[in-house]
């Protein structure tokens, strides 16, 4: 018996530029108790298909053909009220941003009760209490969580509450739309294990929507690869990963960077980078920098010196809340340190005059995480390139500015004629992020701070953008601080890696030692939590969640740093150190 049968489904969105076929002729069947992954880039129609199953397509989209059969019911023929009853009871949806899906002014258990009452009518209070406690326990949360408000929970806990909400009425089908994309790897592993566990227990079908091949490999039984609304490949996960047929599937699999795997970067090094440093003075120096937010210490005191003579990429790795972004904003001078000093070429960043400050800005630039927010929607995208170029006094004539813009666009692989005169909303996230890299290239700073530059970009573009950033170092002599939560990419691009945990350096050293052969338990945990696109590699079992929590707790108390060696031109110091060979 199939939980869901989709036959020849087509979904259209009429727009000003004609009808967009979001999904065309998609046919698929999902057995009860099976997990199926929908994988593809943004815009490939995976979420649209799932929403059509719930009759929740955003206007003006509509189903233009085909049928959806949910365990014997024709979903498309259901009226509003019948559909309302079907949602959650027979098919439930676990959304992407759990943060925004819970009502902030209601207790968790009230929200769970709401779901029951809306579908089963008035229910006895003790029965409600029993059921909410049971369902919370089934997702690995203590029953007392029910008495809490959403803001009192962590991201991972909220996502589990959403799962609890999705399974409380034991539906036949669960649709999970990138349920872990906002979570870090450690939490991601726990949440996915919870979801798989609960799904197996109630025997529902599961549609997991995502773009991470590694996560899919570890979580689903079958895989459906979508591209531009067309199902290009469908089969058992092992068959697809080990023997992909469609070139797009091959791309998706090869775009996952692996620790220790083959590098996605070109091995050949360009011309020897130019020496742009000042002799004897480090480019950037932290002197016992510490940052507190109220009573919370976001960054424990640390000192380092970065020479500008040979450009390097220093990676700062950690979970959300580890203090890595705080470090980035301190370096940019946006956020003054609570104690200690930040020196740029020997000058204190906090006490610079107007001229020195402009010089600092010229030489320290950034690439931010969110490429969608970085462009002013009012201006064409060339404003973001043109304005700083003129402001820093590099421009001699309009023609020169134009030539330079075209040059850097070509350098990052964008067609200047197509891109430069567009408005930001007309470009994809990947194109925007490359433009920001192009901007950095145009200004050619001595130091670039890249704060999670690819975390909001489609997987297939990540490698390209990282390659663009890597080229900045090799070809143009720009030193880079790469802030990320992704150990695999840090392994490939960086010359030195710093692993942060709760504002404290857990492990530091060359990537081949730190990531290839971690000694600190936290780094080990991070690496174990990465989902690999390799079915024979274990991703931990149900019991690991509790163990991990204990381990993390112990580490937070311990506060030791494991040093794994040094590289020339970078010197790091913290108070409490332990040197491991």
């Amino acid at each position: 018996m199939n939980a869901l049968t989709i036959t020849d489904l087509s979904i259209d969105f009429p727009t000003t530029k004609g009808v967009v076929h979001a999904v065309s002729n998609l046919s698929l069947a999902i057995d009860k108790g099976r997990r199926i992954g929908f994988i593809g880039e943004s815009g490939s129609g995976k979420t649209t298909t799932a929403l059509a199953v719930m009759q929740m397509l955003a206007s003006p989209g509509f189903v233009s053909g085909g049928s959806i059969d949910l365990g014997g019911t024709d979903v498309l023929a259901l009226g509003e009220e019948a559909m309302r009853k079907t949602r959650l009871r027979r098919v439930s949806y676990i959304p992407q941003g759990a943060m925004n899906s819970l009502n902030p002014i209601m207790r968790v258990e009230d929200q769970l009760w709401d779901a029951i009452v809306a579908h089963e009518g008035k229910t006895d209070r003790t029965a409600l209490q029993d059921r909410s406690d049971t369902v919370l326990e089934s997702v690995g949360l203590p029953a007392r969580v029910g008495r809490l408000y959403p803001h009192e929970l962590s991201g991972g806990m909220k996502q589990r509450v959403c799962i609890a909400l999705g399974v409380i009425l034991t539906p036949e089908l669960i649709i999970a739309d990138e349920p872990t994309s906002a979570l870090d790897v450690v939490t991601q592993r726990h949440v996915m294990q919870t979801l798989k566990d609960v799904q197996a227990r109630i025997g529902a079908g599961l549609i997991l929507i995502g773009h991470d091949m590694g996560l899919m490999a570890q979580s689903v039984d079958e895989l459906a690869v979508l591209k531009d609304g067309v199902l290009v490949e469908h089969g058992a996960v092992r068959q697809i990963i080990e023997d992909p047929q469609h070139p797009y599937t091959k791309d998706l699999i090869s775009s996952v960077p692996l620790v220790g795997g083959e590098s996605f970067l070109d091995a050949e090094v360009g011309a020897p980078p130019v020496n742009r440093g000042k002799d004897g003075v480090p480019l950037l120096e932290f002197e016992d920098v510490r940052k507190d937010y109220g009573a919370v210490t976001a960054l424990q005191p640390m000192s380092f010196k970065l020479d500008g003579e040979v450009p390097k990429i220093i990676s700062i790795v950690g979970q959300s809340g580890s203090g890595k972004s705080t470090m980035g904003s301190i370096m940019l001078g946006f956020n003054p340190p609570s104690t200690g000093r930040v020196l740029f070429e020997g000058q204190d960043v906090a006490r610079m005059g107007a001229a020195a400050s402009l010089d600092f800005r010229k030489n320290v630039q950034a690439v931010f995480q969110d490429p969608y927010a970085c462009f002013n929607p009012f201006y064409r995208v060339d404003h973001a390139l043109k304005f700083p170029f003129k402001r820093f006094g590099y421009a001699t004539s309009d023609a020169q500015v134009q030539d330079k813009m075209r040059e850097v666009c070509v350098a990052v692989g964008l067609d200047p004629d197509l891109i430069l005169s567009r408005f930001p909303h007309e470009l994809s996230g990947g194109q925007r992020q490359r433009l920001i890299v192009a901007r950095a290239l145009m200004l050619s700073p001595k130091l670039l701070i890249a704060d999670e530059p690819v975390s909001m970009v489609d997987a297939s573009l990540r490698a390209t953008i990282l390659k663009n950033i890597y080229d900045l170092k090799d070809r143009y002599g720009i030193s880079i601080l790469y802030i990320t939560h992704d150990l695999a990419t840090a392994y490939h691009v960086s010359d030195y890696v710093i692993v942060l945990y709760q504002g404290h350096i857990a492990e530091a050293g060359p990537p081949r030692d730190v990531i290839g052969d971690p000694r600190h338990p936290y780094t080990q945990l991070l690496i174990d939590s990465i989902p690999w696109p390799d079915l024979d590699r274990s991703w931990g079992s149900d019991t690991t969640a509790a163990e991990d929590a204990e381990k993390l707790d112990a580490m937070a108390r311990e506060n030791k740093t494991v040093f794994r060696g040094e590289i020339p031109g970078f010197w790091l110091h913290v108070a409490d150190r332990e040197v491991a060979a």
Binding site: R361, C374, N376, P377, F378, F392
Partner: protein
């Protein structure tokens, strides 16, 4: 002939598509602007074509009805005074030609001043923060709680006759609070946005960030707020005039209504005396409302329908 309905439907479809493509082709917006322009044109053409001396007391026969109607004394309307005359011998067409643009002028001027103040204070509060923010917030919150009509009545009763500009200035003192709050909130959220951070990274000055990066993105809000303020200002002005306050020697729509009520136009069935100015006000408000709704649709694509 058989394919005529089809092509018409197609043409309609095309027109809808064009409207979707270019949001400024918005029927509400066009109608609203048309109504307001109509009042301005009435004022301009009237000044050129009509004898404005007819606004003086006693320049015409009393209480004549508009053309095509009879008054209680069985007098017929005459083409010399097409909209009739009032109880003290003034031509209503001349009153409207002068009065309607006056009311619009007071509203626009008051709102313009209020908005400028609001933009300045809102940006200062949002951008500088700290004490400045506290001060501006407290003042604007306190001012919001004071009913403007009360203060204005007291003020005008004490000072007697005021000019139109003076009246606009007085009203402006009560319409800057809501734009201040609106802009402050927007500035606070925009300050954290990626493009403002980018501008800071580009070494942009505070002025550049405020006026070149942030302000353009506020334009839809500012327009909406401006139109809403014009409406409030006109309501306040007319309210004062109908109470007999406001400018005494300059014809305005509100003052005409005040005089009509005072002279017992309601019981004498002199409907044109108060009815025509009221109609003009209604046209003005409907125009402003349509412009506001239209601008809403222009700036918020989600409200647009295909």
């Amino acid at each position: 002939m058989t394919d005529a309905p089809l092509t018409r439907a197609e043409r309609r479809q095309q027109r809808r598509m064009r409207r979707f493509d270019n949001p400024w082709i918005n029927p509400k917006l066009i109608w609203g602007i048309g109504l307001l322009l109509g009042i301005v044109i009435l004022g301009l053409l009237g000044r050129m074509l009509w004898n404005l001396d007819l606004v003086f007391t006693g320049s015409t026969p009393l209480k004549l009805p508009p053309v095509g109607f009879e008054n209680l004394r069985r007098q017929e309307g005459v083409w010399d005074y097409p909209l009739g005359t009032d109880g003290s011998g003034r031509d209503l067409l001349a009153l409207i030609v002068i009065g309607a643009p006056n009311s619009l002028f007071v509203g626009l001027l008051a709102s313009l001043i209020g908005m400028s103040l609001g933009i300045f204070l809102g940006f200062s509060a949002g951008f500088i923060g700290g004490r400045t923010d506290d001060f501006i917030r407290v003042i604007s919150d306190v001012m919001i709680t004071i009913p403007p009509l009360l203060i204005l009545v007291v003020f005008q009763a004490a000072y007697g006759d005021v000019s139109l500009t003076m009246m606009a200035l007085l009203i402006a003192a009560f319409v800057w609070q809501s734009p201040t709050r609106l802009i402050r909130a927007q500035v606070l959220s925009m300050k954290q946005s990626g493009y403002v951070q980018m501008a800071r990274l580009s070494g942009a000055s505070t002025m550049h960030i405020m006026f070149r990066e942030m302000l353009p993105n506020l334009v839809p809000y500012l327009f909406g707020s401006f139109i809403a303020n014009v409406t409030t200002s006109i309501v306040t002005a007319v309210g004062l005039e109908v109470l007999g306050l406001g400018p005494q020697r300059i014809p305005t729509l509100g003052r005409t209504i005040y005089e009509a009520i005072n002279a017992g136009a309601l019981i004498q069935n002199l409907w044109w005396w108060w009815g025509i100015p009221t109609l003009m006000l209604a046209v003005m408000f409907i125009g402003l409302l349509l412009v506001n709704l239209g601008l809403d649709e222009v700036s918020n694509p989600r409200l647009r329908k295909l």
